[in-house]
């Protein structure tokens, strides 16, 4: 069924206990991984194992449990550095989510490196978490917020992109690496080339992209990259930010507290070295341990196999759904991944989602935290099926049959 010889989706499904559940007596067909992915046994066991056998607060614990827990927690930094090919583990900042990563950059870099009058450039297909922090920065700090339009195909309008950078006022381009609504990959290397030529730094929101495609921050040449753990088969409550060391070093801290200081007096505090400067308080210890297990699991399968599998799934899904009368697939970018938004004539996306749920099929419906994109598309909402490494061709067939039935129901 899949292009890659080593990849056996049925064996992989056995690593995810939840997938054997049934919903309303029907096999559970989970097509909502883009919102949050399910967790493999390796993650569940790593977290359980920590709580059962090896747990204490980390950093300067001086006792066995603390030293060992520090080692197992801090290992996630090396694992993330490997995953994205960061030059150094010290450039990996652990946050509580990608939303926290983006806010960290907007607050800290935004209020220090960007001067009032400079601009931040985002795109017309951003998730709210890459819009709202910049609006808040705009209103508090007087920067301008520019939006690069997208084409009717759902791709970044690169002509407009160049134009928007032309006056040299843009200090930072913050753009999604893959749309969570359209599945579009943005042309990351080109974005970086053009932006750098115009004197702007570049950050990618990799929440979706990193799940599906190998990310190499050095090859991309970008300045910031961030992602979130729970979409990468890891636990909630953890995310990451990578940035070049000299940028991190120039940034003031975002939150204050324990672990981010070098020394504290009431008059003045001095900050710990990066990345700790940005990590105030007890970190997400169990989540770090879980995320490391997730990334290890993921890397053992490998992007090559995963990407091939998901490409095959996406093609199959587009073919099957396009065949159903009344179904419109939203977005038709050249370079796209396993996120498919669609509408059904005469049926509201919420009704479609609920009626799919009656058949055991989980999809998301709504604006997908991308309201401005919805306005651009002239829609209130879409239904959205998203694929993970455990998704099968059969599940897509089940979706297609269910949609055919719903279509008849609404006729």
């Amino acid at each position: 069924m899949t292009a890659h010889p080593k990849f056996d989706v049925q064996r992989i499904r056995q690593d995810f206990p939840i997938l054997s559940q049934s919903i309303r007596g029907k096999p559970f067909v989970f097509l909502d991984s883009g919102a949050s992915a399910q967790k493999p046994r390796a993650v569940i066991d790593a977290m359980r194992n920590a709580m059962e056998t090896q747990y204490a607060n980390v950093h300067r614990g001086l006792h066995w449990m603390s030293e060992r827990t520090t080692e197992s927690y801090e290992a996630v930094r090396d694992t993330i550095a490997l995953l994205i090919n960061a030059p150094s583990r010290d450039e990996i900042v652990i946050t509580s989510s990608i939303t926290a990563s983006l806010n960290l950059v907007a607050h800290s870099y935004g209020r220090s490196a960007l001067k009032p009058g400079q601009a931040v450039l985002i795109s017309g297909m951003e998730h709210h978490s890459n819009i709202v922090p910049w609006q808040m920065l705009r209103d508090a700090h007087g920067i301008e917020l520019r939006v690069c339009p997208i084409t009717d195909a759902g791709e970044l309008d690169m002509t407009a992109f160049e134009t928007l950078l032309a006056d040299g006022k843009v200090g930072l381009v913050s753009i999604t690496h893959m749309s969570n609504v359209l599945g579009t990959y943005t042309p990351a290397e080109r974005i970086v080339r053009i932006a750098h030529a115009a004197g702007a730094k570049v950050m990618f929101d990799g929440a979706q992209a990193i799940v599906h495609r190998q990310v190499d921050v050095q090859a991309l040449g970008c300045d910031f990259y961030c992602f979130t753990g729970h979409k990468l088969y890891g636990p909630t409550g953890i995310g990451a930010l990578w940035a070049r060391r000299e940028i991190l070093e120039s940034m003031p801290p975002f939150m204050g507290g324990g672990d981010m200081i070098s020394s504290v007096t009431f008059e003045k505090s001095s900050w710990a070295a990066v990345p700790h400067k940005f990590e105030a308080g007890t970190p997400a210890i169990l989540e770090g341990i879980g995320l490391k297990a997730a990334i290890d699991y993921f890397r053992a399968i490998g992007y090559e196999a995963i990407s091939a599998h998901e490409r095959a799934l996406t093609e199959h899904a587009i073919a099957r759904l396009s065949d159903i009368e009344g179904v419109q697939i939203i977005g038709r970018a050249q370079d796209r991944g396993g996120v498919i938004s669609f509408t059904l004539d005469r049926a509201h996306a919420h009704d479609v989602a609920t009626l799919l749920d009656r058949q055991g099929i989980a999809v998301r419906a709504g604006h997908h935290c991308a309201e401005p994109l919805m306005h651009r598309l002239g829609l209130d909402s879409t239904a959205r099926a998203t694929f993970g490494l455990y998704t099968t061709h059969e599940e897509i067939d089940v979706l297609a049959e269910a949609l055919t039935k719903i279509r008849k129901f609404f006729k």
Partner: protein
Amino acid sequence: MSFDDLRDLYQGVIMDHGRHPRHGTRLQSFDVTAKGDNPMCGDRVQIWLKYAPDHTIADAGFEARGCAISIASADLMADVVRGRSPADTKALFDAFRAMVRTGICPDHAGDLADPLEKLKPLLGVHEYPSRVKCATLAWHALTAALEGVQEGSSE
């Protein structure tokens, strides 16, 4: 092809009222009007009310954009509130809201038994707490209209 698994929630009544609402028009002559907006879903509704001389509701009409559940709910509401006093209407809303939240239709609803029976097809919504607000959006707008407010709240 059997529709049974779909029908338990989307019963004929809902599909019918959702697609062909009886009261889905603006009243030409009305006393009060109010809007409801659920930005999370993109659901929008506007309600128009005409009072009888005794201040009971003589007629209700609406325009809505949204899912089948929100439109069917608006239409069933327009139906059952006719002839009711504002106080009565609010009591009915409370009972209806309890029903769609819990999935239990009150047994001894007294005066409200009849209209609740009509609203019962919406009871299945309780399984989807995040869609309760679809079922109540029109009611919130109605409450606003009764109170002379322009914009209803939502759940």
